[in-house]
Every structure is written in structure tokens, then in C-alpha cells.
Amino acid sequence: MKISSGTIRLLIPAASLALLLAAVFYMQPRAMSYNGLNLLFNLAVPIALATIAQMLIMSVNDLDLSMGTFVSFCACVAATMLQTSPMLGILIFVGAIAAYAAIGVVIHVRELPSIVVTLGMSFVWGGLAVLLLPSPGGTAPAWARWVMTAKPPLVPMAIVASIVIAGVTHFIVMRSSFGVLMRGVGGNNRSVQRAGWSVIGVRAGTYALAGFFAILSGIALVGLTTSADANIALRYTLLSIAGVILGGGQFVGGKVSPIGAVIGALTLTLAGSFLSFMRISPDWQIGAQGAILIVVLALRLALNRLEKREKSL
């Protein structure tokens, strides 16, 4: 029995996702089909991308409270500029990534709390989104629409996309040297500095990468919904944080898991569908989502205790 602690940490999120999925299939056997799965997980793709972005920020011990407004802003850009004049749209996105990198630098240099700076930025992104799209509208770029509604053989797009996202980010965060540095900054930024690395550079890179994934999330969202509005993704801020935690990530110490984060995002999306299959009245749906979150975290606590007991033996 040689299981790494990383695998154990993935066990609970994976098990809870499997359990929820089994429950959904039991109640609604028709969901067990290509189309059924696609419908169940469709909205998970943008949430998974936003969760990955949040996870990157959390890996350097920061928290991004502007995630929801930033994804909304990106969705608005994707539905307007990117569609009408792609060059301008791409330029705006490059600017947004640069802004994220700059936020990372400012937070590091001035030792500011990330919560407050991103709180301020959330107003800025929200304002920009309102300026771009004062009322809901816009059209999704044809290619984004095509990607999000593609029907690959055998496995639905939503699943393929989730696996690709998990695989790519697993490589970046867990296998590449940049990923190791990033988690190192979260774990002990002084020792990374003493080892001769530029912590500012790592933090700027992490923020830029997070910005990039959040932009992908906005584009994916527009690809699904075909139009955008300034408030389209506001709940992503809290969903993305919850997704990371559900997936076994932690607020401090650089302990994050990309595969777990994607699984966490899928679990949160599925919880919504599960509740509507349960015929729970809409009044209680949000509350039941909170309850599911609590139950999963309680399970994780139980497992952590088990892990600790094994170590001490």
C-alpha cells in the first residue's frame, strides 16, 4: 500500500463527485447518455477555468476577490470586441493579462493584502464591463461557439475539456519548474528568494497566468451562452474559491491541486443539477448547495484525521 499523500488528498473530491454522479444517474437514468452528460457538465467548463485561475492565485497565498467581475468583463469583451474586431479584442486581453501581472507586482512590492487590492479591482472590472455592455447583448465569436458546442465522438465536449484543462494545468503547476517555484513562494517565499530566484517575477508570472485562465473562462462562458452581460459571472468569485477548497487546496502554504480544483468545479456544478433532480423547491436550492459544501468538507476532515493517524503509527 503505497499511496502518496497527494493522491489521498484527491481521493475525497473524486469520491464525492462519483457519489453525486451515481445519485444523479439513479434518480434520472436518462442522464447516463452522451447528451445527458453534456448537459450536466456543460456549464462546468467556464467554472473549472475560473477555479484554476483562483487556484494559481491561492498557490502564492493570495486570494482574488475580483475573479467574478473579471470573468464577466472578459465575457463582455469576448461578446463585443473579440467578435467585431478580433485584433482589438486580443489587444485588450493582452492588456488585461498585463494588468494582472501588475497587480501581482504591486501586492508584492508594497506588501499589500491581496484581498483588498483585488476588492478594489473588482469595482474597476465591473465598471469596465458596464461601459462595454450597459445592457445584456453582444454575440459570441463563431469559433468560441463552435468549440463549446462541438460534439466529439464517444465522450461529450464538457468531459473532454475538463480532462484537457486538468491535464494541462497539472503539467504547469506540478511538473514544470515554474510551477514548483510558484508553490515554493506559497510555502516559504524567503527560501525561494535566498535560493536566488526573483519572487517578484514568480508572483507576476502567477498572476498573469491566472489572468490568462480567467480570460479563457470568459470566452468559454460566452461560447455557451451566446451573449453576455456585465453581471454574467459574479458568482464565480465564491464558486471558484469553494471549488479550490473542495478539490483539496488550501489557503496558505502553496498546497494546491489542479486536478482536484477541476473535480471541485465539476462537483459544484453537479450539485446544482442534483438538487433540481431531487425536486427540492427552488427556495432551498442555494441552501442545499451550502449543506453539500459542508458535508464534503466534513468528510475531508475525517480523512485527514485518518491520514494523520497512519503517519503516527
Partner: protein, 315 residues
Amino acid sequence: MTPHRFLLGKPWIWSFAATVIVWIITVLFTGGASSFGLSQAALTFAAFSVIVGIGQMFVITLGPGNIDLSVPATMTLSGTLALKLMDVQDGMILVGLLASIGIGLIVGLGNYVLIKLLRIPPIIATLSMSFIIQSVAIWSNRGLRIKPPEMLANFTTSDLFGIPNVALVAFLLSVLAWVLLEKSIYGRWISAIGQSMFAARMASIPVDGTRLVTYMLCAVLAALCGYLLASFSGGAALNMGSEYLLLSIAVVVIGGTAVAGGNSNIPGIWGASLFLFLVVSMLNTYGFGAGFRLILTGLIIIVVILLAGGRQSFR
């Protein structure tokens, strides 16, 4: 202690200075005609953010990671249930108030039980809790808009010697909070916990009890604010708390409370609340649209933090 602190003196002075400047700019634009009305509106709306801000400040003082995200949901639930209970009867005002406080106590207890027993980080614990509270509010509200009892509505919308009653209530609560924070052993305890939970425990401070009381205090203040806000605006709405989530954190931080915990500041909350309201009304009078208003609000928050919040002098 630090050259930084020595130079800036008291951090809350800056938020007041900024408030005065914004006030003057706004009044100048309108030719002085609006100065009284503007001040009254600012005091009224600042009062609501002060009440939730104080609660949030106590929680933030507990140290890194301590934030209460259930504030908006608690406000909504308390406003909804209290108005339902009072059912437009003046005689029930006190009962409604007690019910509000009770809701706050229960929510705070629930929050801390999750944090302590399930070891859930406070952000996620209060977030899950807020989902549940929100559901209870939706379920009990059913889209009905019940009016507040007339006496209570009159109280919250009128003023005493030109100062809005709500602002007086907020002022009273701030004084109580200041005494609690600066003069009582409880205040010393939360600062100690915020500076180092480990050291506090070694010093045999009842860490769990203090944290429990703090989360309950924050929820009670949020519930109280919901009660007043619902009465002030003539009924509870399901989204009435939503803007207070970011606002409650923003006023605490701009007001000069250290986000890393262990150091808090009540006058600053007043300065920051007035400042944020006046910025929005200044941008309104200058005729900016919603988009620009949001962008400028965000930039102003960041600039204030940049100017006042740098902690590099500690190292």
C-alpha cells in the same frame, strides 16, 4: 514603534481628511445648495456601513483568514423575519428587535461551530452558512414586501437636531465597540489572538470563547443593521444586503485596520464609510455614468491602500 507609524500618526486621520476634501468638492459643484442634505444623506448611509463594518472589523482583527461573508445574508434574513414578525404593529417593535438579535446570535454560533468543529476555513464556513441563511430568507419572504411598523419607520427616517437617528444609533454602537475594544479585557484578547493565536493560547487566553463571541457579535451587528435598513427603506428585499459584503470589508481596510489582524481602529470606519458614500455621490453630481463611477471607486480604494497601507516598514 515604526517610522511609518510615527510619520502618519493616527491612520484614521487620512480617511477623514479625504472625506472633507470630497465633501467640499461636491458642495462646490452644486453651489453650496446641497450641503445640508448631502451631509444628512452621507450620515444616514454611512451609519449602515458603520454598523456592519464594526462587526467585520472585530472578525478581521482575529487574524489572517478571518472574514465573515455571511453578513449580507444575515442582514436580509433579519430584516425579512423581523418585519414579518412585527406585522406593521407598533407594539411589536421590541419583539422584532429581539428576534433580530436572536437571529444574529444563532448565525454567529453556527458560523463558529462550522469553523471549530469541522475545521473549515472561516471564508468557506461563513460562505456555506450564508447560502443556508439565504435560503431561509427566500423561503420565509415569498416575494411579499411587508411594511415596517409606522413608529419604527418614522424613527429610522427622521432626525434629532439635524442628525439622522440611524447615525445616532451607529454612533452609540461605535462608542460601545470602542469601549469594548480599548478598555475591556475582551478587546485585549482579540488583539492578542490576532497578533499570534499560538502566543495567546500560551498566555492562557480563552481563544475559542473569544473567537466565538466575536463571530456572534459580528452576526448580531449585521442582523441589527438589517433590521434598521429594512425599516428605513420601507420593507425588506432579498438583495438588500448584497452591496454590504464588499462595503463592510472595504470600510474596515480603508479605515486603517490591519488586514493581517491584531490591530483595529473604530474612528477610521466612520471616515471610510463617509468617504465611500461621498465619493459615489460626488461622481453622481458630476454626471458620471455607472461604469465610470465603479471604475473610479475601485481606483480610489486602491490608491488609498497604496498610500496608507504599505507594511514594508515592518521589516
